[in-house]
């Protein structure tokens, strides 16, 4: 598909144009044709139509899936975002929102026939409201910048994905991000108390009201984690958490993963809820060592990072007990961080893990499966077996406390069929997670990457019912279409009744997100259609 086509198809009639080869919906030329109007909304310098510049946005953190948008727009205000959506809706052009582009499931993968709405200019922290223990931010604000702004007052923003230096809170909202400390502190949905959203009908609406118990349906809870398919967030109200009095961190080394797993079971079984428990296997340790020289105990089959935080009295007691239990489980070495610097060193290996495997393998696929914690040992054994049978190396990094695995399936992309075989192994790992009652994604989201697996986890009826929600917000099917669900639900006829101030249910028929054979809205750079 080309951008900047000379053909100007009629807008909003849904008539297939020659440029799109039979695909219903307005097509990429219609998207490109929006440029003048969008320049009026955001200013000429904030509309990108040059193909070379557009390539900057062709993928997010999932670099195996690429698609160049017809246009990219960089708004600066909530009103501009709403106006962009209105323009797209009238022209029947799909749109995708992008925060910092660090997502690992292709949720921000652009549409070649659509507009990419990039929120990176909207990074302001609008207010740190200490008396009410909340902060108001723009969607492009980085996760860590919120904690930094709250720090002088003795507060922080609890959800802490490993990419927090870069990732946006808007993206966190889309994915319902957790982070290493979610075991104790929960996820984004537990820490966001209000959202201003530019809805697919082009209105700005508040969902939730910045207080703890808003009336009516919990649309906030439903919106968070909806992966950008129900609207674009324009303001976020987050809960701030009091910084814990004491943090204690230790690293325990084991001859094998079984030892580490046993330690985790003992700790949880003792009624201790650590702030974080992370585990890495030998291959992951090896990679981390090469990347950041964290100096984890050499020859360890597994390392466990256990962190407790909270009031000093509780942490002191529980930490000693946790340490004792780690020893009981057969630790060959235990290191306790005595100060923030040592704590940072212990964490450096874990935090670098994904990027670090690049030192030991040309390419990799990272999975995000979850299993019940009690099934961890069995599933890790199964993964090891599958790895051995296929001859494909798998490095394991995971949140041991909640069973969220990140198997890193390593392969050499120069090798023939290596990528396909790695994909196959990845799929088998997810199957194993599901067979043990788990999930296909604990925090990275479904996006483009795992939508094909959704029918393995949910029935067709489940998926159809979930999509009723989507029909309520986006009957036109233009808001990040094609993500999460492998088969879109036709929204049917819903009367265009104005139900309340500023909200209208659209009369427009849904855009058909499926492409004609050979044509695909997510054309990859190789021209091969990606199935979703």
């Amino acid at each position: 598909m080309t951008t900047g086509a000379t053909v100007n198809p009629p807008a909003s009639t849904g008539i297939p144009s020659a440029a799109t080869g039979g695909q219903t919906g307005a097509g990429p030329a219609a998207a490109a044709a929006l440029a003048p109007r969008l320049r009026e909304v955001v200013g000429a310098g904030n509309v990108i139509s040059d193909p070379r510049q557009l390539r900057t946005y062709e993928c997010d953190g999932l670099t195996s899936h690429r698609s160049v948008p017809a246009l990219a727009v960089l708004p600066d205000t909530a009103e501009q975002i709403a106006a962009i959506i209105r323009a797209c809706a009238e022209a029947r052009v799909p749109y995708v929102a992008r925060g910092s582009g660090t997502g690992l499931s292709g949720g921000a993968l652009p549409r070649a026939d659509g507009v990419l709405v990039v929120t990176s200019k909207m990074r302001r922290i609008l207010d740190v409201d200490v008396p009410n223990r909340r902060a108001i931010l723009e969607p492009g604000a980085t996760n860590l910048s919120v904690s930094k702004a709250a720090a002088p007052f003795g507060y922080f923003y609890a959800p802490d994905p490993s990419s927090q230096v870069v990732c946006s809170v808007g993206g966190n909202v889309a994915e319902n991000s957790g982070g290493a400390h979610c075991l104790k502190y929960g996820f984004t949905v537990n820490h966001v108390i209000g959202l201003q959203v530019a809805t697919p009908s082009g209105d700005l609406e508040w969902i939730g009201d910045g207080t703890a118990a808003p009336p009516g349906y919990d649309l906030l809870g439903a919106f968070i984690g909806s992966e950008g398919t129900l609207g674009i967030v324009t303001k976020i109200v987050v809960r701030l958490t009091r910084v814990p009095e004491l943090v204690r961190t230790m690293l325990a080394a084991y001859p094998s993963m079984d030892g580490g797993g046993s330690a985790v079971s003992k700790i949880i079984g003792a009624g201790i809820v650590p702030a974080a428990i992370e585990m890495m296997d030998a291959l992951a340790i090896q990679a981390a060592e090469k990347a950041v020289a964290c100096e984890y105990p050499p020859g360890a089959g597994a390392v466990l990072i256990v962190e407790l935080d909270g009031p000093a009295a509780d942490v002191a007691y529980e930490f000693d007990e946790a340490r004792r239990l780690c020893e009981e489980a057969g630790a060959t070495e235990i290191r306790v961080a005595d100060d923030p610097a040592e704590r940072a060193v212990i964490w450096s290996g874990r935090k670098s893990a994904f990027a670090a495997v690049g030192r030991i393998s040309p390419a990799y696929i990272v999975q995000d499966g979850v299993v019940p914690r009690t099934a961890l040992e069995e599933v890790l054994h199964a993964i090891a077996e599958m790895s051995e049978q296929s001859g494909i190396r798998v490095a394991n990094v995971f949140h041991a406390g909640d069973g969220n695995l990140h198997p890193l399936v390593l392969f050499d992309d120069a090798e023939d069929t290596a990528e396909e075989r790695a994909e196959e192994l990845s799929g088998k790992i997810l199957d194993a997670c599901l067979a043990h009652g788990g999930s296909i994604t604990g925090e990275h989201g479904v996006g483009t990457d795992k939508s094909a697996y959704m029918p393995k986890m949910f029935t067709a009826v489940d998926l159809d019912t979930m999509q009723r929600l989507r029909c309520a917000f986006d009957p036109g099917g233009l808001c990040n279409p094609g993500k999460v669900f492998p088969t879109p639900r036709l929204c049917g006829e819903v009367p265009g009744v104005r139900r309340g101030p500023g909200t209208t249910v659209s009369l427009s028929a849904p855009a058909d997100a499926t492409a004609a054979p050979g044509e695909h809205p997510f054309s990859t750079s190789s021209g091969e259609p990606e199935l979703f």
Binding site: N132, R134, T211, Y217, A222, P372, M466, T503
Partner: protein
Amino acid sequence: MAADPVEVLSATGADVRKGRKADAVAGVTPAAVAAPGSAEQASALLSAASAHGLAMVPRGAGTKLDWGLPPRRCDVVLDTAKLDRITEHAAGDLVVRVQAGVPVRRLQDELGRAGQQLALDTADGDKATIGGLVATGMAGPRRLRYGAPRDLLIGITVVLSDGTVASSGGKVVKNVAGYDLGKLFAGSRGTLGLIAEATFRLHPLPPEVSYVTLSCDGAAAAAEAVRTVMGTQLAPSACEIARPRPGAPVTVAVLLEGRPDAVAERSAKMRAALDGSIPGVPGAPGAPGGAAAAAVSPGWWNAPAAPAGGTLLQLSCPPGALQAVLDAVDEAASGASPAAMPARGRAASGSAALDPVVRGSAGTGVLAVGLATGAPPAAVGEFVTALRELIARQGGDLPGGSVTVVHAPPAVRDSVDLTGPIPAVGLMGAVKDQFDPGHLMAPGRLTGGI
């Protein structure tokens, strides 16, 4: 409708009987009461009911049926009593899957045997079921630490009015696959469908608890005490206030949970911090007028602020607005203009008619106001309007909060706006239309025509 609901529904094979006056939902007696024994049976029932245009209201123990508006129609009550199994308690994973008709109390007893709990508060003697807990979204003092039902819900199975049985989530806490129908159904009060089963994350039972209380002489002192509590690093599980009538002292009570030694230490520190927050108090532990600690909760803890037939309001506001809210309750209850506001300590004339009791989570900004059972509807209406205006002013750029009439006698319910303006009510209506296009599930109960 021509067909007899009992006949129509009995044809599904489910347990169905004629509705009695005792089955009335907010004054509306159903023609039939159906008790499905499984999600599949519920599916057949709802499907049959829908086909005949019968309006349905789900019921657990029926303890909160007086919440909200009466249903516009109620042909069938869907009784969850037979959905009574604790399906799976995975203690090692701190997860439990339970059918909607299980009483919360029974579940807690079962979990307690394994040293675990569903970290949600129900009032003493409350017979509420799990389904009711989720459908009402109610939470008590410990919402400060653990949140509301939606925060602990990790999976749900629901039955829609057309008989669709659908699940979302699962049985692992880390799970972002698909949309979260559980969040949507939590607090939906039966208007989106029947909750058949729910899966929750659990917490260990704390070995020890301590309640630290301080009696404060007025709203300003109470607000200062709450600020002090929330500013410590002592990780309170709850921070509640109670004021039995305008002008009376405000009691601030803090719950601390954990290991015995640790709780004792934190309790002492909390008392010292509270004592330090009140000017004029010597600050020595046990000093007269100072904070006290106890192993049991105050009598009013988690008790309803209004009796069953009375008017109960829920205020959701920014926590920093506590003093303003307490003062506004005084002012609105007295019916006086700001200039004529009576001095603190003296009962305001006119307030006897409303007699507002204020309780609730000062730490999160979710407060309950109970009004006298005989309060005249017009006075209640003015009171609610005044509070809504006050709360709207607290917001700044944000909506500000809400005042909801949770339950009230019919005379009040029929004349007062129960919720005030609700953000995104149009979107809520669109959601309702998708999940229950025929508007057969508890029609008109929630708000704004839903």
